[in-house]
Amino acid sequence: MASTIWKGVIRLGEQAVPVKLRSAVSDRSIRFRLLDEPDGAPVEQRMVNPRTGKVVPGEKIRRGFETESGEIVMLDEGELEKLEPADSRDIEIIRVVPKEAIDHRWYVRPYWLAPDGDSSDYFALARALEKKEREGVARWTMRKKEYQGALHARDGYLMLITLRHASEVVSAAELEGPSGRELEPRERKMAEQLVEALSGDFEPERYEDEYRKRVAELIEAKASGKRIRLEPKRERRRPASLASALEQSLEHARKERSVA
């Protein structure tokens, strides 16, 4: 069971709902350490002053900000401490927006919220969000850091997904795709048909991290001293022109369909 990371209180106007924050993600990646190749010992990381080549120990490290004009402004601990946000348990809902209002690119990491104490208000808030098909924009301070997030209702429970800051998200309107001559209507039509022919339902459970499995197998085989066989590289033949590639793919996709 996932452990509680932090406890807070959702503040929606006058309403208060105490909750416990738990990660909704479990990291399953295989972690490697970096080894020094000649002797196979794990390497450490040190902070080195490039001017002197000497290691600077942790307690002597200072913080600073580099300006675009090539100056470094050093900040001392006292100054940084003053910038730390005040301690608070509040998860303040500052806005309530339609569910599709937040673009994917804002999302960082999901957390489940568990009711802390009495659960009736917790489930009522989840229901209210679900009924209105809305989500809350929230702000809170956790371990001396400010966060912002989206308060979602999901399967009748509350979830908080942390959001990026405005300056980190490039607005799609700032960009333009490549331009060129008008696309051939016939090719365009075939491309659309191909997309349609390959369309289906999204079933996330069907996808597995095969690579992770293979890495685990490789490690196991090596640990037990077995020889390993690697999959030979294969190259696919490519058709000559875009139009013939579309035609062949479409035919293939249709055949697969009729079999299925």
Binding site: I5, L35, P50, K60, R63, Y107, V170, G180, L183, E196
Partner: protein, 328 residues
């Protein structure tokens, strides 16, 4: 602290690494692309400094030699329970999924509305490689008019990703997603059984929401307040000339710096605009800023992989530089 709250270092790292380049395929049509991160790093990220203000450089250190690891000659090690390590080379990892390290094969297209935000991890823009503009535009047009997103799995930097490819504004965007088994269910997270809710309580919350309702997200409400405060403090110290030192010249920065320190971080927008116009390799300016010697061994290895240089996994950093240079 039981769990990391936010994996910021990974985010910062990915912003400055060489990006994935490969091919999107749908059916037999292939579209060579390069990935660029779609999000900018935080505005005011602080650097680590020596007491005299010199920006520090992160170095791999060999405890036995009590000195820096030479040539960044390192290998991946998986720690067994008894403390021994199983060594795994880059080449071995790469060969576990030879196709997937180069190809995003879109075998399934789904309605964009079906994509669930809990899965999203990170966004990238996909720019067409030189000569690939036509198939790129064709794929964009077909996906935009059908309102579909393409789904595939691919391997980038020793990890497999589930990715959704989305077309918007004439551009392709890749959103890496978590695998379903990485998302905890309410039961996994130890949430209690759902209980019946009182209509009155629901109404009370619905009313409380009314004052806060907006139809759109206002980015102004999601400003990076900490960065602003730091910038303000920095400006006042600059004006007073307090604790200000000159940043070291470029040539003193060779090596692996702290996140955000190396100038390899390129102007994302400029880079994208340029690529959308003609596609192809980086400009002279960019190349100058990414002189081979100043890259990490990992970055050089990735380059060598793209160039199909043989014997790359056995090469030292210097050997990689020498092998890459003729083709750069």
């Amino acid at each position: 602290m039981p769990e990391p709250v936010e994996d910021q270092s990974a985010e910062e790292q990915s912003a400055r690494r060489t990006f994935w380049s490969g091919t999107i395929t749908f059916g037999l049509v292939s579209v060579p692309v390069e990935m660029l991160p779609a999000n900018r790093p935080r505005r005011a990220s602080l650097r680590m400094l020596a007491p005299d203000g010199a920006p520090l450089k992160r170095e791999y250190w060999s405890p036995r030699a009590d000195g820096p690891v030479e040539n960044e000659q390192t290998v991946h090690g998986y720690e067994l329970e008894d403390g021994r390590f199983v060594e795994v080379s880059d080449e071995e990892l790469e060969e576990l999924a030879p196709r997937k390290t180069r190809e995003i094969d879109l075998r399934l297209f789904v309605d964009r509305e079906e994509l669930d935000p809990v899965f999203f991890e990170r966004a990238y823009f996909l720019a067409p490689s030189k000569g690939a503009i036509k198939p790129y535009r064709l794929l964009v047009a077909a996906m935009e008019s059908t309102r579909k997103a393409g789904i595939a799995t691919f391997v980038m930097r020793e990890r497999e990703y589930l990715v959704a490819i989305i077309a918007e504004n004439g551009l392709l965007r890749g959103e890496t997603m978590r695998f379903a088994d990485e998302i905890r269910s309410p039961e996994d997270a130890g949430l209690p059984k759902r209980t019946k809710v009182e209509k009155k309580a629901v109404q009370r919350f619905s009313r409380a929401m009314e004052d806060l309702v907006a139809e759109e997200l206002d980015p102004d409400e999601l400003q990076d307040r900490r960065s602003r405060q730091i910038e303000k403090l920095v400006r006042s110290k600059l004006a007073a000339g307090r604790d200000v030192v000159a940043a070291p010249p470029e040539e003193e920065r060779v090596g692996r710096g702290e996140p955000g320190s190396d100038r390899v971080v390129i102007d994302l927008m400029e880079e994208l605009r340029r690529r959308m116009k003609g596609g192809g390799a980086a400009s002279g300016k960019h190349r100058a800023a990414t002189e081979l010697e100043s890259r990490s061994k990992r970055e050089l290895y990735d380059l060598a992989k793209d160039l199909d240089i043989e014997g790359r996994s056995k090469m030292t950093k210097q050997e990689l530089v020498r092998a890459i240079r003729p083709s750069a």
